[in-house]
């Protein structure tokens, strides 16, 4: 039965224009990451070549090529911005769509008059959502690899591919968190639209409000994949900084930067420890979604 629900979920998503529109924007932005990286790369190389020519004419030695000291994956640094912004919203909508029909249109009455348990239903939905997000991240990873090949003019090394795959797995977990938020807010709301709006509110808080709160002295913290230095002598900001382990968006960007080798290196154990609270939040959300599905009265149709 879990497979039947997951299969139906994937078929439905393929036909839902809202999901397809978000998917198109996300993949477009992923491809754009490559274009932006390639454009920056080309500009820097041109400036470097011109500088070398000028310096050579003056008889001075040329400085080292800037790209030799920059990690190859730095070209994809914008991915750590697009995933929390567009990818998370896509996942939220996906989670909402996954349970909204059964919850609000009355299809749940038909579904649960069959020999289907609530546990199988929710596991099937989670499997369907997980597979859909997995496919999205696989497509994004392939697009990123293609972008690297175009930008660098060579095939990425095996360690770089490994880092990219690890980054995709981390991103999949991050997206799953928002899909669970979308499912939970929809299951807890009587009106479908309220469920979606509540989910979007959570996304806004996690993506923009919480990073500002926990890294208040660095207003660009919500965008830059750079960990915030312990920064202020003000007691208020020292307190807010302590809440940082719960700011999943910042943790995601920080760990992503580590995986993609964008920032100063840290021991792997420190990076892993940073992920633990996020994993705990995902598991707690999954348990809440399961509980909400068990408690929901599917004999009554909700409202739009």
């Amino acid at each position: 039965m879990i497979g039947v629900i997951a299969r139906q979920q994937l078929l439905s998503l393929r036909r839902q224009q809202t999901f397809l529109a978000f998917l198109a924007v996300f993949l477009l932005m992923t491809a754009l990451t490559g274009v932006i990286g390639w454009s920056s790369h080309r500009t820097i190389v041109q400036v470097y070549a011109a500088a070398v020519t000028v310096l050579a004419a003056d008889g001075q030695p040329a400085p080292p090529d800037p790209f030799t000291s920059v990690p190859a994956l730095s070209l994809l640094s914008n991915m750590t911005i697009y995933i929390p912004l567009i990818g998370a919203l896509l996942a939220l909508v996906l989670g909402h769509l996954a349970v909204a029909d059964e919850q609000s249109t009355g299809i749940g009455r038909l579904v649960f008059s069959r020999p289907l348990s609530r546990t199988s239903y929710i596991l099937g939905k989670l499997l369907g959502v997980g597979l859909a997000l997995g496919a999205v991240m696989a497509a994004a990873t392939i697009a990123s690899l293609a972008a690297l090949v175009v930008a660098n003019g060579r095939v990425p090394s095996v360690p770089d591919v490994g880092r990219l795959v690890l980054f995709s797995v981390l991103s999949l977990g991050y997206l799953l968190l928002f899909a669970l938020v979308g499912m939970l807010t929809t299951l807890l709301s009587r009106r479908r639209s309220v469920g979606l709006l509540a989910g979007v509110s959570v996304w806004l808080v996690v993506t923009f409000v919480l990073p500002q709160f926990t890294s208040g002295l660095r207003p660009t913290a919500s965008l830059n994949p750079i960990s915030d230095p312990v920064s202020s002598s003000l007691a208020f900001f020292q307190i807010t900084a302590r809440a940082r382990p719960l700011s999943v968006s910042e943790i995601y960007k920080d760990v992503s930067a580590q995986i993609l080798a964008l920032g100063p290196g840290r021991p792997a154990s420190t990076t892993l420890a940073a992920v633990v609270p996020v994993v705990a939040i995902v598991l707690a959300l999954a348990a809440l979604v399961a509980a909400a599905a068990h408690r929901h009265d599917y004999s009554r149709a909700g409202a739009a």
């Binding site: 039965m1 039947v4 299969r7 139906q8 078929l11 439905s12 036909r15 839902q16 029909d101 249109t105 009355g106 299809i107 009455r109 038909l110 579904v111 649960f112 008059s113 069959r114 020999p115 289907l116 009265d297 599917y298 004999s299 149709a301």
Partner: protein, 243 residues
Amino acid sequence: MTGAAIEMREVGHRYATDPVLIDISLSIEPGEVFGFLGHNGAGKTTAISILTTLIKPTSGVARVCGFDVVTQRRDVTRRIGYLPADVRLYDHLTAAENLEFFARLSGVDTPRHAVAETLEYLDCTELSGLRLGTFSTGMRQRIGIAQAILHRPEVLFLDEPTSGLDPAGVRQLRETVLQLNRELGMTIFMNTHLLSEVARVCSTIGVLNHGRLIYKDTIAATTSRFPDEASLEDIYTLVASES
């Protein structure tokens, strides 16, 4: 099937503190077409929700095909079909895709074959490849019935099946119900307001008034018991006013 197709013993249900069903006891034999009558809010849909295992009764025992709706839910749901009022399916999927999904959920071994066979049985094969979002109420109702009988249930629950249908649709539904009962031997439990349809389709009726079952008998016995009343509507009004 041995014994009653549907049996309710002192079944009660309440939402918060409001009683919706009060000590309902009734028995419906296999092969009967049972019409459950009652005003809006009488508790008809709640009764169907209990019998289809969607909600649990707060008191009493309900059995379908001999299985308890609470403790043997899986056995019950394998044997029933359900068409809710204002049937909704997945609008972005085609009729065939919707039906295939419900066939798989019902544990049908060959879903595609069952879908094709059922659509042919209901004479609506032409709807197979069309998306539900484009359907009229009548077309939805046809597909709704198809999803309810895909797995050839022993008992079919219909909740206000004629609501929103035009006269031609009502007639078509009536013929379908009779056909399912006659040819496939299904026991049919039908909630309805349309007393004229009850008189034409049902073999037994029950009247629910403010959560209590105030009357139950066969159509034949009912009309002979109230010889002075011109129609079932008059009988219903009389029974409801006497309770």
